[in-house]
């Protein structure tokens, strides 16, 4: 069989990439249904940098961005600036980098495996499985930093391998710089990347020992690039989020020990302070958290229980990958490139570690880096079934893949926006479109802050001038907008509009009810009449 412009191998590769792109790109403005507040903040900060050179809080070209309860790393925010410049400030531009880099990761997986195994069928199998991976698709369809970080990491690894095969120092230096930069894109990589590099260094010690000077130079480059993030990690801002969600939390330990004491009888009650000590307790929690990421329920049936991180009723990876992973694990030793096999295993073993030290677990976003070794191992299994087993088995397996993929796409495009509207804070766009169209008629527009941080949505959807906001605005209000608690004394106000939560009874004239994609009311918009 021949194709007019492409050979068979490239035809399959292009088809896989197109499929991967389509399933990541279709309806991204409206599915996920709403813009989560982190996405809105990232988008508006990039817009603000484009217009003023400073983030919306007025910090000029910051290295770390203050967000809601944590600090964001700069990678995604700066990468987004040209997208916002070209496509404007909207859902599409905020999510597009992940669609593009998510799709490019599929290509990178192909190139990485092809370069290391010289087996293009295996490379195509793994690329195909990544293209239709629910885990990777989920994080490629919204502004999650983890997707860009995974792309950068995989690209860096590809370059390092290229330097090993071509003995070209430039690739190694570039690869190591990119590895260091992953730490500026997503928090997980501040732990994962250094551990992985040490592991790779150990696996390829024979090679690296031959080029000691080069290795020392690249290590120094890595350390220099990592200095700001290293310093940041020890500041209050750098530790805030990690401390608040830490597994090593003293309060959780005390709670667990008290519970143990309450339920135990003497003499164990009195022995508990010796037996139930913190290092052992922490080791138990870490062990359980770590193994959670390999639990079949998480991987194949239920996934992460946060609606933004998975389809919840579908596993992180496709159910047909269960036999593929089992076959793949036992065929791994047949890989001729033993060192690459060790790197894959190292990658898989280290990947959940950043997610283990903070709660809750299992966490699909913090452990996204697991997805690549998993698809490669599944790819080995798929390759075995397609090309080394009987044709009837291969055909039946293909049918199973098609059926699972159809069910998944139906869930993704047909049900997801409705099912997880609340998880994505859907309704804010419609609310802001309405109030911004009528706000000029009112002296004041009050917006409830019960749903979080409405100011960022107003900034985002009205494309509010960043320099004006930096000078005169605050999270309490700007222009004629004011953000209030539900017990704020605003009912004596006339000529005002109040965006209230649906459960709040307000004396006024109801102007509009805002619904989310599930057709649940989210806000009631009232015109205040001045009657208390």
């Amino acid at each position: 069989m021949s194709f007019p412009f492409l050979n068979r191998r490239n035809f399959f590769l292009v088809s896989i990439i197109v499929l991967g792109f389509l399933v990541r790109f279709m309806n991204i403005s409206t599915n996920p249904p709403g813009l989560y507040w982190d996405e809105a903040a990232i988008g508006y900060d990039s817009y603000s940098i484009l217009k003023t050179g400073a983030d919306h809080r007025g910090h000029f070209l910051p290295l770390f961005f203050e967000s809601f309860g944590d600090w964001k790393l700069p990678g995604y925010e700066y990468l987004l600036v040209p997208f916002v410049g070209v496509f404007g400030l909207n859902e599409l531009s905020v999510r597009l980098p992940n669609v593009i880099f998510g799709t490019l990761t599929v290509l990178l997986v192909y190139l990485l495996i092809k370069s290391q195994t010289k087996n293009y069928k295996l490379a195509l199998s793994a690329a195909f499985l990544l293209a239709i991976s629910p885990w990777h698709i989920q994080f490629s369809r919204a502004a999650f930093e983890s997707t860009i970080a995974l792309f950068t990491f995989t690209f860096a690894l590809y370059l390092i391998y290229k330097s090993i095969s071509s003995k070209n120092a430039k690739f190694l230096i570039l690869g190591v710089i990119l590895m260091a930069l992953t730490q500026y894109i997503y928090h997980s990589y501040r732990i994962f990347t250094p551990m992985f590099l040490v592991g790779v260094g150990f696996i390829y010690r024979d090679f690296f020992l031959k080029f000691k000077k080069l290795v020392v130079t690249t290590a120094i480059i890595f350390l220099i690039v990592s200095i700001p993030i290293f310093i940041f990690s020890f500041t209050k801002e750098g530790k805030d989020r990690a401390i608040s969600q830490s597994t090593f939390n003293q309060a959780d330990f005390e709670k667990a020990r008290l519970k143990f004491d309450q339920f135990s009888k003497p003499p164990f009650r009195f022995l508990s302070k010796y037996l139930y000590n913190k290092p052992l307790y922490t080791s138990e929690v870490l062990l359980k958290n770590y193994l959670d990421h390999f639990s079949p329920t998480f991987l194949f049936f239920k996934g992460d229980q946060v609606g933004r991180h998975s389809q919840v009723d579908i596993g992180q990876i496709n159910i047909f990958e269960l036999p593929l992973i089992i076959i793949g694990l036992f065929c791994l030793k047949n890989l001729k490139n033993r060192k690459f096999m060790y790197v894959l295993l190292l990658w898989l073993i280290l990947a959940p570690i950043p997610a283990v030290i903070v709660n809750p677990t299992p966490h699909a976003n913090r452990a996204l880096q697991m997805v690549i070794p998993l698809v490669i191992i599944s790819g080995i299994g798929l390759n075995y079934i397609l090309f080394k087993s009987q044709k009837i088995i291969a055909a039946l397996f293909c049918l199973w893949i098609v059926a699972v993929f159809l069910i998944y796409t139906n869930t993704l495009f047909g049900q997801y926006p409705k099912k997880f509207a609340a998880d994505w804070q859907d309704g804010n766009r419609d609310m802001i479109n309405f109030i911004s169209s009528v706000s000029s008629k009112y002296k004041k527009v009050y917006v409830t802050n019960t749903a979080g941080v409405p100011y960022i949505y107003l900034l985002f959807y009205t494309k509010y001038d960043p320099s004006t906001y930096q000078k005169f605005g605050s999270t309490k209000g700007f222009g004629n907008y004011e953000f209030v608690d539900t017990n704020a004394k605003i009912y004596d106000q006339k000529n005002s509009l109040y965006v209230a939560p649906v459960w709040q009874k307000v004396n006024g004239n109801l102007q509009r009810v805002i619904y989310d994609s599930k057709e649940e009311p989210v806000y009631n918009i009232w015109e205040l009449t001045g009657n208390k």
Binding site: S264, K265, L291, S295, F301, K333, T411
Partner: protein
């Protein structure tokens, strides 16, 4: 001779760990049931349809029906019995590690008896989801998982480092069983023994 002695020690330690857990479990007055509920299939289909744009449409009916929901729900039930939390509560960290080594050993060495044993274990998991005898299920599964661990004896007796790892894991497992005496993944209500 030395290897035989090590094997005997490891065997005895495994046995003591197993006996300790079973003794602890004897205080349980209500074991957790993993019985499969047929209603879940109907609920699954109905819930899925509820979110469909066109619930009576061809795609909806083709992708969300009892035929697709049944294997999912049954698989989900079984996966709970293979979950890391459940297995840690049942056989402890040492048992978990030993079971993984044993499975690897059986498959790589292509041991016929081992495969039969794994099939029996799989049947026991299915049995636990089909019949209402949660205490018996727990005892059967605990026994079968511990017996599986004996295939890892050779691994731990190969050198002194591995034996040391075994000893540390054994101590850790005793401590683990001690503090998780309430067996939250296995038992709903337990009396202190």
């Amino acid at each position: 001779m030395k290897k035989k002695l090590l094997k005997t020690i490891i065997f005895s330690l495994f046995l003591s760990l197993f006996a300790f857990r079973v003794w602890q479990a004897s205080g349980c007055i209500s074991f957790k049931s993993f019985l499969f509920d047929n209603q879940r299939i109907t609920t699954n289909v109905e819930t899925s349809r509820q979110y469909e744009k066109n619930p009576d449409g061809l795609i909806s009916r083709a992708t969300h029906n009892k035929f697709t929901a049944a294997p999912y729900e049954f698989g989900l039930n079984i996966s709970a019995l293979l979950g890391s939390k459940y297995l840690l509560d049942l056989i402890g960290p040492l048992g978990f590690a030993a079971a993984l080594i044993a499975i690897y050993y059986i498959i790589t060495q292509r041991l016929k008896l081992g495969f039969i044993y794994l099939a029996i274990l799989a049947l026991a998991q299915i049995r636990a989801t089909l019949f209402t005898s949660s205490k018996t299920d727990m005892l059967i599964l605990c026994t079968l998982w511990f017996l599986l661990c004996f295939w890892s004896l050779n691994f731990f007796t190969k050198n002194s480092v591995r034996f040391l790892v075994f000893a540390l894991l054994w101590l850790y497992s005793v401590w683990f069983f001690f503090i998780s005496w309430q067996m939250p993944e296995i038992c709903n209500e337990i009396f202190f023994k």
